[in-house]
């Protein structure tokens, strides 16, 4: 055997020894981080229901709000806005809500297309959906969609990290989640934590197929594992709600043939495997939903309660973790006294803060983001 042949065999042994070693020393994936058992403070026993529009002084079109609780019981919200959806001037904006004063600060841009392009060293054509979450170390994680070529089916996901509650941000980093030039991966659902410190990010794909996946990200924000939530061409924008370390339910927007219903999946092994999607009793006009499991229940879902349009936005409640539902309230729709020029109420984001109050953010007529804050006492009165 020539020396070169021997050297190449040694190289094979070294390379594959490294690959096997990496697999064997990788920690086994943990289940979901235990959800909050009870609010940190007691919500008022007086019913609270406070709707308001967020400030929008600059942009004609806004969409896809997301929010996280930050220090002092405040909320920091993000959304994208620009002259129109998909325009080159679309940027990701943020505003802070003071729960004491009940007001939102003036918005400011967190990331523009030009800045993201410069940091990522890639041409970017437009920005899209942001979602925000926290990692185990308390850092804020802001994921946002960008497109280099084509429409939303050509999307990729980027991540920025803040260690000061959103005051300053790291340069964006690209997440790799698809073998097709890493295109066609988008976000809408809330990130979640796993017990092993990894982050779960519900994502979906829109190129040729429409299906959901759950990415696992390491502490640096690299995708290190993923699980398919669905397959085919009709499910997207997954929202995952864990109940315990092993159990979670997921909901998805439905883009298939009638009857148009919210799709639901379940896992009982910490997200390793998921049941095939089933249609719930809840209608879905091919629109995003938002979900949250309140501390000590019930499970809430914000959705467009219609099969054909987004002209009303409602709250559904389930006390059996998604098996049965009842509509508890209509936030916007026919009964609303104030209508935007475009009657569309969509892309809900719902969460519970540490005081036990529930916050809902959604797109109001494509021109404003609307915030509704309510508490358990108000919710109890909706029965």
């Amino acid at each position: 055997m020539s020396q070169l042949r021997l050297a190449s065999l040694v190289a094979v042994a070294l390379a594959f020894g490294g690959l096997y070693y990496r697999i064997l020393v990788a920690p086994s994936p943990g289940g979901f981080a235990p959800p909050q058992a009870a609010p940190r403070a007691v919500s008022s026993t007086t019913p609270l229901y406070r709707p308001q529009l967020l400030p929008n002084s600059a942009e004609r079109s806004v969409h896809s709000a997301t929010a996280a609780e930050i220090s002092g019981g405040r909320l920091r919200a993000f959304w994208y806005g620009g002259s129109r959806e998909g325009a080159a001037d679309v940027a990701i904006y943020t505003s802070i809500y003071s729960s004491v004063e009940g007001t939102w600060s003036p918005e400011r841009a967190v990331v523009t297309r030009e800045a993201a392009q410069r940091h990522l060293q890639r041409h970017l054509r437009k920005l899209g959906n942001p979602v925000v979450g926290r990692d185990r170390n308390g850092r804020l994680l802001l994921f946002f969609v960008s497109v280099s070529v084509g429409g939303w089916a050509g999307s990729a996901i980027n991540l920025m990290v803040s260690e000061d509650e959103g005051g300053t941000w790291s340069a964006p980093r690209r997440l790799i989640a698809s073998p097709f030039f890493n295109i066609s991966t988008l976000v809408k659902g809330s990130p979640l934590q796993f017990a092993d410190g990894t982050i779960g990010l519900p994502v979906y794909h829109e190129m040729l197929g429409k299906f959901g996946e759950l990415l696992r990200l390491d502490a640096e924000g690299h995708a290190i594992r993923k699980t398919r939530l669905s397959s085919g061409r009709s499910s997207l924008q997954p929202v995952i709600v864990p109940r315990s370390e092993t159990e979670a339910v997921g909901f998805m927007r439905y883009a298939g043939n009638p009857p148009n219903r919210v799709l639901m999946v379940r896992t009982t092994d910490g997200g390793a495997t998921w049941t095939p999607p089933v249609k719930t009793s809840l209608p879905n006009p091919n629109a995003a939903v938002g979900g949250v499991l309140l501390a000590n229940g019930p499970l809430l879902l914000a959705l467009n309660n219609a099969e054909e349009n987004r002209e009303s936005l409602s709250l559904a409640s389930s006390t059996d973790f998604g098996d049965t539902w009842r509509i508890a309230h209509e936030f916007d729709g026919d009964s609303s006294s104030l209508h935007p020029p475009m009657r569309e109420y969509s892309y809900p984001w719902i969460m519970q803060d540490g005081a036990g109050d529930v916050h809902l953010l959604y797109t109001w007529g494509r021109t404003r983001i609307k915030h509704v804050r309510f508490n358990r006492a108000w919710l109890a009165g909706r029965r």
């Binding site: 094979v12 594959f16 690959l19 060293q121 890639r122 041409h123 790799i176 073998p179 190129m207 690299h222």
Partner: protein, 201 residues
Amino acid sequence: MSTIFGFFGCGLLSLAAVATGLRLQRFPVGVRIAVMLAAALAVFAPLGDLSAAAYVRGVTGDLSMTTLVLAGAACVAQLTGQTVIAPRDLRALFWLVASAAAFLYPFALGWTQFDPYALGYGSIVFVTALLLVTLAAWHFRRNVVALIVITAALVYLIGAYESRNLWDYLIDPLAALYALVRLLAGLRRGPGPHAELGIPR
């Protein structure tokens, strides 16, 4: 680090496209070198915020070792007029890349719950299959195949790209498309000695 690696890879692909498109080997050596230097300047120098390589990276993402080896071989072939990769090596590489692409890409479109791309995050079965392919390539002296797999594995282990998925270091859609086109062209043409990379018939 990932930006530098990714940036370099897309620049190399751009240079290979320029060299092959111009069929540089027709010109004297001095002209070939001058054109490649000028092309390198044009590819890597910033045009405003971004360089041409960054625009390519915006479309293709980071390129696999297969694409980089083929692009590098095309550059060398056009510069020196010498074939770098033996035809039989190329044929083996193209068949392997096309087979891997047929396994990977249709399922990655979400046709079923099975997702072969997920295997690239760390699967004993996947790595063992790759080891067997590499040992077979080594045994039958298909050296370029072994070289690409070894390089991809090492670059993956040091985390040179943004991806932590081994598939992204092995193949990409450009390599798959190129392999498919060359195989189809070869089948139409029949067996012959004209498969050298970058050398026209």
